[in-house]
Every structure is written in structure tokens, then in C-alpha cells.
Symmetry: C2
Subunit: 132 residues, 2 copies
């Protein structure tokens, strides 16, 4: 009873996961674990497990492509989950610290729409410092 709703709320009641979900809600694009790590500046364990929790809450979906696993907003969720998504979309970007910009920067490193560099790469470090 109520478990689905509680799972969704708990999944988002954590700053790192809320950042992850908010980012997905705004870029309207899939993102892989390595990219999320760079954008959020979080460790691998952290990003991987937190995405898994969002997945179990059924608010994102995952699909493997070669080595990479891409996560995406789940647009086929319950009415409740869709309202929750609408709520998260109302959180203004000022509440975050450049996630959107860093994400654009990271997505620009793709080739033909595919992620080609792993997490914490020299390329990413350089792109980051160039951007300051």
C-alpha cells in the first residue's frame, strides 16, 4: 500500500538524486553514467547507485548501448509520477550551480550523438577550465 508513491518521493528526497532528475528533466536528452559523473562532480558509486534508485522508482529508464548505459526520463509513468515531474520542472536553475551549462559542455564532447570519453578524462578537465 502506497509503496510506489513512497518510493518516488524517497528517490527524489536526496540532493544528489534530485539534481540528477532535475537535470534529466531539463536537458530533454539521455545521459550516460560517465557524463553524469562529470556534470555533477560525483563519484562513480554515487551516480550509478542513485540512478539505479531513480530507475526502481520508475521515473527514469535505462538502456545499454555498447559499454555505455544511458538514462532517460520515463514519460510513461503514472499520473502521480508525471505530476511529480512537473513539480521538479518548476525548480529554477538558480537552485543549482551550473549543472545545465556543464551538461551542455559535456554533451558537446559527443561524436555523432555518441559518448566517446569516459569519466574524469583530461579532455573534460580541459573543457572545464576553458569554460571558466
Amino acid at each position: 500500500m502506497l509503496n510506489n508513491y513512497i518510493d518516488t518521493l524517497k528517490a527524489l528526497a536526496d540532493p544528489n538524486r534530485l539534481r540528477l532528475f532535475w537535470l534529466l528533466a531539463h536537458i530533454d536528452q539521455r545521459i550516460c553514467v560517465a557524463e553524469a559523473m562529470d556534470v555533477l562532480g560525483e563519484s562513480h558509486y554515487n551516480v550509478s547507485r542513485n540512478l539505479k534508485i531513480l530507475l526502481k522508482a520508475n521515473i527514469v529508464t535505462a538502456s545499454r548501448e555498447g559499454k555505455w548505459v544511458f538514462y532517460t526520463l520515463n514519460n510513461d509513468g503514472s499520473a502521480f509520477n508525471q505530476q511529480i515531474l512537473a513539480a521538479v520542472r518548476h525548480i529554477p536553475a538558480q537552485e543549482f550551480s551550473g549543472e545545465i551549462q556543464r551538461c551542455q559542455l559535456r554533451l558537446n564532447m559527443r561524436r555523432d550523438g555518441q559518448c566517446v570519453v569516459g569519466p574524469d578524462s583530461p579532455e573534460w578537465q580541459q573543457a572545464l577550465s576553458n569554460h571558466l
Copy 2:
């Protein structure tokens, strides 16, 4: 950063508080602690503290009237909080076990719109058994 949003989500990510908030979202009426105790069948500590947590999250308001403290939906919250309220309204009554009916039963015990019996009263026990 993000604290307001996290507070709201955490406040609702608990079955008892979600029940409380869902009830307030559906009866469209204020309710005092004693009434909430009877309707939800929870202890005083539990109801009082959980309502306080909803209050701190700014999704309900409180007002004292004599001995009684009435809690109500907060309709002046942030856009985020209002969307969250819309989400909670989408949770169907089947997810609960007669909260609405028990609440009607309890509100019928009021006189002139005022609560007149305390928690766990014989009157309430009798009303409950008559209703089965």
C-alpha cells in the same frame, strides 16, 4: 541550496505523513490533532510530530483555537509545492483504507463546526463500531 524542495519531498516520503497530507488534500477542510489521531489510528506523538514536519515543509498551516490546533492545506506555497499537492491528489482512495469515510464519521461529531471530543473517546469508539 535545494533545502526547501528536499524538505517537502522528505516530509511526504513517509507513509503516515503522506496519509495525513493526502487526507487534508481531499477533505478540503481543517482538522485538529485529536481528529487526525482517531481517523488515522495513530498515537498522539506520532500525529503531532508528523504534522509539525508537514508544517515546517510549508505544505500545511496551523492555527490554534482554544485548546485545539487546526491544520489545513497551505494554498499559498511555492509553485513546486502546489505541483506536489496536485500530484498527491492523484493518489486514488483505494491506496488507503477508509481514511475518507472515517474522517467524515469523525467530522460529523463536531458541533457548530467545532471539535468537541478528544482523542480515543468512547463516542468515537462507538461511532466506529456502528459504522461497520
